[in-house]
């Protein structure tokens, strides 16, 4: 997808952001949005450049969708992605406050565990990942975020009455409750 196409999508999705800001100049000019703040979490910003970077593999997937539905799908995708990035920032903030870190060896172990669960070698799993349009670095980043969430969740549940192992639905509910608790004290604003 060309940068021009992305720009068009954003202008459609976010409204005419630059309307009314045409400068008083003698010669006609074209103004193209290069970057902007799309969300604020506490004192940190999430930017359009960052959002576009994260959206790139998703946009590749949407390339096969017909033109009419693609714009709508992209709008939803950007909105969901911003919300996801906001949650990641909140988790990262909580992790910093609790001195929680994820090491490279923990990411390696998670990769091996995933490969094993899919009856693949680590190398074969990474080939599959790349074939899906995701770079190894991005995939490792994704795993790091998940591990961070997992560790924060474990800390959140420590001291709470949890009987036995949690199933996926209970984990999702616990994760939702933790996010609600984290958001309570943090300023969050999405500017889409």
């Amino acid at each position: 997808m060309s940068p021009a196409r992305i720009t068009t999508t954003f202008l459609l999705a976010f409204g005419a952001m630059v309307a009314g800001s045409t400068p008083v100049r003698a010669e006609p000019v074209r103004r193209v949005v290069v970057d902007r703040i799309v969300a604020v979490v506490d004192r940190e910003v999430i930017t359009l450049v960052e959002l576009r970077r994260r959206a790139a593999p998703l946009l590749r997937k949407l390339a096969s969708v017909d033109e009419a539905s693609r714009t709508m799908a992209e709008t939803h995708m950007y909105r969901d992605l911003v919300n996801q990035m906001v949650e990641e920032r909140l988790i990262a903030r909580r992790a910093r406050m609790s001195s929680i870190v994820v090491t490279a060896s923990e990411i390696d172990a998670a990769l091996d565990s995933l490969a094993q669960a899919n009856h693949l070698s680590r190398e074969a799993l990474l080939v599959e990942v790349r074939a899906a349009g995701v770079s190894e670095a991005d995939y490792r980043d994704d795993l790091r975020r998940q591990l961070l969430l997992f560790k924060c969740l474990r800390l959140h549940l420590a001291g709470k009455k949890v009987s036995g192992e949690m199933n996926d639905a209970q984990m999702q509910e616990a994760s939702r409750a933790m996010m609600e608790e984290i958001k309570r004290d943090v300023f969050v604003e999405v500017r889409l």
Binding site: V18, N83, Q84, L157, E165, R191
Partner: protein, 369 residues
């Protein structure tokens, strides 16, 4: 508890559906509390333009010829935060760094970066500055202006709901930690001539006095012994920090008496008198008393194992395990190595034999590289 399988499922979902899959319902963001500013409104056409850099000559269209910051009340020094150069092509990453640097100034509320393509290519940082706080009022403080628990609320320079929320959240947490269990600090920003009026509303509520500390689990003698080591006592105001320290002390006391499976649940606070009194329930499960089983030494030893056993390891097999004694023994080993010019890490690992109520200790000595 959470299983690795859960993680695997989550990761597979992410693999299959890429980034959006793991997000679930996504964040539900709330509107800023009574924020006076207008969102998503870039600088207006008539807003002044601050020129940060200009080549003053013709450059190819794919290169930035001029950099501007446009917006009302933009201070000159903001240009120093823009690091994108002129006479070079647009660098998205550099622009992104600039956006973060401008926002980090604290006075900038919103930024849109535009590339103007005309006879010359101009990079415009269109900013909206935060309005200044023109009036500041704290409601709910005592007549002297002091707030409970020594909380201080300072007047911010500009209307930044992020900073004000952080300030009010911290104040609320401090007051609740000091026993004001229902304390709230809220804020309201209202547009005024030349800026924004900020009102902070403090409602501390009553301060909880500890009515009683009740143990569930230990015998009454043991409960008395544990109570004696606590800073939280009946008749005094509740202090969260002291209570957290007490929980750690109870846990540590168990470890020193061989009760290695001691667990202390999060204290339950039973309120009465509308939050003015509180009973603390401490559920302690101490488990059996473990005695020391086998002790082994491995790694970078600088003498026979017998020397370590005889001269440094005072806890003998059959004795009740004590974490403090083990820690002292470990320190002795480290000092011995240091006296011989060898800096080591001494890491003990324990293996519990619940059936025989024994604990084996493996001491690994590693030379620091």
């Amino acid at each position: 508890m959470i299983t690795r399988a859960g993680l695997v499922v989550a990761a597979l979902v992410a693999l299959g559906t890429t980034a959006c899959g793991g997000a679930g319902e996504g964040a539900h963001t709330r509107a800023p509390a009574k924020d006076a500013s207008t969102k998503n409104e870039p600088a207006r056409a008539q807003d002044p333009v601050l020129v940060c850099a200009d080549t003053r000559e013709s450059v190819p269209a794919d290169q930035i010829a001029r950099i501007e910051i446009q917006g009302a009340r933009v201070p000159q020094e903001l240009c120093t935060r823009v690091k994108h150069g002129i006479g070079r092509p647009l660098d998205d990453q550099r622009v992104d760094d600039d956006v973060r640097a401008l926002y980090a100034d604290g006075r900038v509320e919103d930024i849109i970066v535009l590339r103007e393509e005309g006879a010359r290519t101009v990079l415009v940082y269109s900013v909206r500055m935060r309005p200044p706080i023109v009036t500041f009022e704290i409601q709910g403080a005592d007549p002297s202006g002091a707030l409970p628990a020594g909380v201080v609320l300072e007047r911010p320079e500009v209307a930044d709901p992020g900073i004000v929320r952080a300030m009010t959240s911290d104040a609320t947490r401090e007051m609740r930690g000091a026993g004001y269990l229902h304390a709230t600090v809220d804020f309201e920003m209202t547009p005024r001539e030349g800026g924004v009026a900020l009102v902070l509303r403090v409602a501390p509520g009553p301060r909880a006095i500890v009515r009683a500390v009740r143990f569930e689990g230990p015998s009454s003698d043991r409960a008395r012994e544990l109570s004696a080591s606590m800073r939280t006592t009946a008749g005094k105001p509740l202090e969260r920090q002291a209570l957290e320290r007490d929980v750690l002390v109870i846990q540590a006391d168990g470890y020193d008496k061989g009760r290695l499976t001691t667990t202390v649940a999060e204290p339950e606070l039973v309120e009465s008198d509308g939050g003015a009194a509180v009973e603390i329930v401490l559920r302690v499960n101490e488990g059996p008393v473990f005695r020391l089983g086998k002790v082994s030494f491995e790694g970078d030893l600088i003498g026979p194992v017998k020397t370590y056993e005889r001269d440094f390891w005072t806890s003998k097999p059959g004795a009740i395990f004590s974490r403090t004694v083990v820690a002292t023994d470990i320190e002795r080993i480290r000092a011995f190595h240091e006296s011989r010019g060898s800096i080591v890490d001494v890491n003990p690992s324990v293996e519990l034999d619940a059936a025989h109520e024994k604990v084996d200790v493996k001491v690994r000595i590693e030379q620091r590289r």
